[in-house]
Subunit: 206 residues, 4 copies
């Protein structure tokens, strides 16, 4: 069961690719997609430039692969919320509020996050990848909410994704310390969104 590598070489190849991706991610995080250079990445991997081109035909291809892997990771981290009881789901999501200001690797915030969004504005392939991945993440999240018996899961998903995306930007624009209050409010909002029967005009009102 599961896809096991066809041969030993194939396994080695995949490992090598993984290593390159991880090196590339590091460099891209530090210097940006355009600031990082292929040769630096190759050197960091301990392979030659020419050999890197054996695995990735161009820098754009490498960028795309990194973006894809990054999003794979985001997607994966949604798994943590599957199979939670409705109540635990609410609590865990509320906790994310705090995490987003500190951790760099969770669904709504990655170091490469804004780099990717910026790139998406000018690279259609990246944009397509981004949107396709987002669609999938929303779909999974909707399923999670539905399984938890929450009404109108699509809208609530959108709301939550919007708020968390916003938070990740605020972590950069507003890193001061008085934000503790904000976090409390947001937590409450999240709990509301996941707890109320109706979402907005109804649920949020008296």
């Amino acid at each position: 069961m599961g896809e096991m590598p066809v041969s030993k070489t194939a396994a080695k190849r995949e490992a090598r690719i993984c290593e390159i991706l991880s090196c590339a991610e590091k460099h891209f995080s530090n210097k940006g997609f355009h600031g990082a250079g292929i040769s630096g990445i190759a050197a960091d991997c301990g392979i030659s430039v020419g050999h890197l081109y054996h695995y990735f035909g161009s820098k754009d291809e490498l960028i795309l692969a990194v973006v894809k892997s990054e999003m794979g990771r985001q997607d994966e981290s949604i798994t943590a919320f599957e199979d939670l009881s409705p109540e635990n789901l609410r609590l865990e999501m509320a906790e994310l509020t705090t995490a987003i200001f500190s951790t760099d690797a969770e669904p709504f915030r990655t170091v490469l996050n804004f780099e990717i969004l910026a790139e998406a504005q000018r690279n259609p392939e990246v944009a397509a990848l981004l949107q396709q991945q987002d669609t999938q993440m929303r779909r999974r999240f909707v399923t999670i909410l539905r399984r938890a018996g929450i009404d109108d899961p699509e809208t609530r998903t959108e709301l939550i994704f919007t708020i968390f995306s916003g938070l990740s930007a605020r972590a950069l624009r507003h890193p001061e310390q008085e934000r503790a209050a904000l976090l409390e409010v947001i937590k409450d909002v999240i709990l509301k969104i996941l707890g109320d029967k109706q979402v907005a005009s109804g649920a949020l009102s008296a």
Copy 2:
């Protein structure tokens, strides 16, 4: 009255600087800070490379200046909400929800927005500028809300800024057409936030 240029040369100089900034902004938008080249910008301005360096000592200086001007523009566009009656304020803010998906120049979304956020992650000067500007914008918005007689304006400001920041990311990640429903929800949320006496656990609940 009004600030008139001290001298003719100074005026010319300022005009030239403005032109460079505008060209640079265009190039940076299209190719990113690191993708765009000084020589391209200079050529587009109709001046020589060397001469551009007469006005900006380095590319970083130019980037910083563009970021600063960009944020000045964001800040300015808040002015539109000053002097509005409380009710109009609510409606106008709700309208922004739609605008953020279409317009490229308003307080919470600019083409350069993510480029700047990405740059802020590795360039401390940009980060400082970003935070300082955000502080000022929040202060102004708080004043607007307070003048409109809205309770706990600080928290509501944070909430609104968070939501709009999130929306601008969603415009990229989720540009599909079924989002009309989301917009309606967000609009309602904004109206709630600006209309309720209490903010969260209280106001959003029944």
Copy 3:
């Protein structure tokens, strides 16, 4: 008596030229003739680039002027040895041996010394200046020796100039501390050269 400036403006002009030369000398010393830039020199003088060109038509002209002034200074410092009694002359010259390892401004050693020699190898104008100045210095020194009643002053001058030139190079190649002994030897050699009736094959032998 002596040449007084024709007018106040002329005096001012000369002062300005002096200032430029002194700034240029500083920059050339620090970065070399080719490493230093006109604009840096102008800035250091507190004048505009264009204005510097009012006084010196080109960088080469400025270099030449600095070389000339440098050599003027070397020449001047020979004056110190005129009017010395024969015995004092010997002692003073012997003292120079020590000075050459520490001072940067005396006839046989200047910071710009090697820069000038290197430039002379490729710039004929500098070479000509160098040789002409050296001729004049030798002539003056010969006169000094002759007045002191020293035999064959031409040859002794050559010998002394050679030794001091050599010392200035050794100050760079051999700046260690065990050189005290060398200095004593050289001192003695100088004293010999200036004291013996015959110069070499005779005088230096038993």
Copy 4:
């Protein structure tokens, strides 16, 4: 016997490096370290600019390598004086006096000589190299003198190095034709220095 290159590629690489060094030396001699450009050197070698950087990481590195090779050559040319009989040593050294005014490649004079000395004044790495190499050359020369049975070889070495260094400067400052007499005197001095039992206050006196 002999050092044979480890592999064919390594040999090729070394040959290429040699070629670059020789081209660089030529350019540096003609225009000075700072006057010569990398692109000119690369073009002269028949390689691309980028490729030159494959071998030398920066211009400074290249300068340093040229200086090093230059000094290697100076050091090597001392070999000619090893294994000479005492008498032949005296004569050969005396002959050098003439050579220094004509040849460009011998221990005490190279075209790049003053360029290097000038650079040493501002580039500590070059200075260090210069001093280290000089120390070694002195050491070797001392051994030569000692083997020839000459007393106090250290002091005599210093004296000779000083005189020859001085001569190489005089070749530039005093290239006129009446110097034949000087040469004779210097020759005698050298012979004395290498022939007398005592060096200075004693040997040079009656």
